[in-house]
């Protein structure tokens, strides 16, 4: 190697060192065996280590990942392992154990260093998210408290209106009964609105925890239909079930699946004239389950279809037919389906009815591509 080549290589190395050091987030680079080869200033500051304590050490041992409650995360479950196996970048929210023993919440992305298509190491960039978590916590506490404060006076209005309706203060004449019924209906509508807004703000701020477990679709559907019985009975609607005999089991979040079906069934009931039909079916299709809810309702006009899943949007005929809707049900359904990595579509004929199709994966390791050890 001549002197000029040597100088060029040294200059390149110095440039790459400078580039690595000047990254504003913490950065660590390992070789193909997971030995830390580089650590920038921010990484050292965040973890509380000196350069000599990290560089040359085996990454999983030198940088200990925890679950936020002191338990160490196994090497096999760490993003770097996945990166070496798959050769693809992995993002995660996790905790690292600082030298002083405290746990630091952080968001990290580990990417493979590829040379000729082969991984020769990994680079991790991470940042402290303590402040973001504190703000999220405050936001969540505010939402919980605000909804509580809104619900308390509403509960008083609702309970006294129900008491009047139920005859606690004597028999009401027809006009009094009509006014009280209107009050009860308005409080029910207000309550539905608060619940929907609360659910949406929880989803949008990432506070709705995704808890996958064994869900038997037939059981969830029967629960929803059972809860809807008073409304279907009142409108004399015929409920037709087209469900497989064998249990249709998926691994998903039961409450979210139920909320999706419940919203669609409620819509079908609300927008179907008395004596109509509602057909609910579920079937397995490849690695998904497809649920279809068909009604003989008012249908969705062509020019309203594109905005149907927008918040507070209500089609013109829906407004005329059922004025009390919140305009949030389908928006909520859309958000929940996104968390479950599912899909929703519909067909409709104005004046004849609509069918909504929901497709949910039968299994999914996590609610989205966001890798997370801790549910942060």
């Amino acid at each position: 190697m001549n002197a000029m080549n040597k100088r060029t290589i040294e200059q390149e190395r110095a440039r790459s060192d400078a580039l690595f050091t000047s990254i504003g987030d913490g950065a660590l680079a390992t070789d193909e065996r997971g030995i830390i080869r580089r650590a920038n200033r921010v990484a050292l500051e965040l973890l509380g280590h000196t350069k000599s304590e990290l560089v040359g050490s085996w990454y999983p041992k030198a940088v200990v990942a925890t679950d936020g409650h002191g338990a160490t995360i196994a090497v096999m479950d760490r993003p770097i392992t996945e990166v070496f196996f798959t050769g693809k970048p992995v993002s995660a929210k996790t905790f690292y154990l600082k030298k002083d023993g405290t746990e630091l919440p952080l968001s990290s992305t580990v990417s493979p260093i590829l040379l000729g298509g082969k991984p020769v190491g990994a680079i991790e960039v991470f940042r402290d998210i303590s402040l973001e978590l504190a703000i999220d916590k405050m936001k969540s506490e505010f939402i919980a408290l605000a909804s509580h404060q809104l619900r308390t006076p509403l509960s008083a209005i609702s309970v006294y209106a129900h008491m009047l309706q139920d005859g606690y203060a004597g028999t009401l004449n027809d006009q009094q009964m009509e006014y009280v019924t209107r009050t009860v209906d308005a409080t029910t509508r207000m309550q539905a609105l608060i619940n929907a807004l609360l659910n949406i703000s929880r989803i949008e701020s990432g506070q709705l925890a995704y808890n996958p477990k064994r869900v038997v679709m037939q059981e969830v559907i029967e629960q929803v239909l059972d809860e809807s019985k008073p409304a279907t009975k009142q409108k004399k609607l015929r409920i037709i079930r087209r469900l497989p005999k064998l249990p249709l089991v998926i691994m998903s979040d039961c409450l979210m699946v139920k909320e999706i079906i419940s919203n669609l069934v409620t819509n079908a009931i609300q927008y179907t004239p008395p004596n109509g039909h509602i057909t609910i079916s579920a079937r397995q299709e490849k690695q998904t389950v497809v649920i279809a809810i068909r009604d003989t309702g008012i249908g969705i006009p062509l020019d309203h279809r594109s905005q149907l899943f927008s918040p507070f949007y209500r089609a013109e005929n829906a407004l005329e037919y059922f004025e009390s809707g919140t305009g949030l049900g389908l928006y909520l359904v859309k958000l929940l389906i996104a968390i479950l990595n599912g899909e929703i579509s519909f067909t409709s004929q104005e004046g004849k009815g609509s069918t909504f199709f929901v497709t949910i994966p039968m299994r999914q390791p996590s609610p989205s591509n966001n890798y997370s050890h801790t549910g942060l």
Partner: protein
């Protein structure tokens, strides 16, 4: 006659629930915060407690921590009856000995009576 301890800080709601449950045939004792409830429980054992969570002086969770129902009155049924619907608080209340949770704003007087009846049977 079964006795229900109603722990609810909102005057209007306390009065309404007392009326509903009295009419349903229960002997209802009202308390307006956790401390008042603890005072009553030091000498009395109701069959059921209807417990709000957010209350002044002593909230529902801290009330349960001090009352320790599973140790002191293991047969008492407890329904958490609150407008707070956050999962950690509800889970903590259940862990501390509550049997059921009802969201106040979603519960009609009829449903309340049905839930009380059903919980007393368990």
């Amino acid at each position: 006659m079964n006795t229900i301890l109603l722990v609810e800080d909102d005057q209007a709601l306390n009065m309404a629930f007392r009326t509903v449950l009295t009419k349903a045939g229960y002997n209802v004792v009202s308390a307006f915060h956790g401390l008042e409830a603890l005072e009553y429980l030091s000498d009395n054992q109701p069959q059921l407690i209807l417990l709000d969570l957010l209350m002044p002086k002593l909230n529902g969770i801290n009330f349960l921590k001090r009352y320790q129902p599973t140790v002191n009155h293991p047969t008492v049924r407890i329904i958490v009856f609150s407008n707070l619907d956050t999962e950690p608080e509800i889970a903590e209340a259940m862990q501390l000995g509550a049997h059921k949770y009802l969201l106040k704003a979603d519960t009609t007087p009829k449903q309340l009576v049905e839930s009380v009846k059903a919980t007393l049977k368990t």
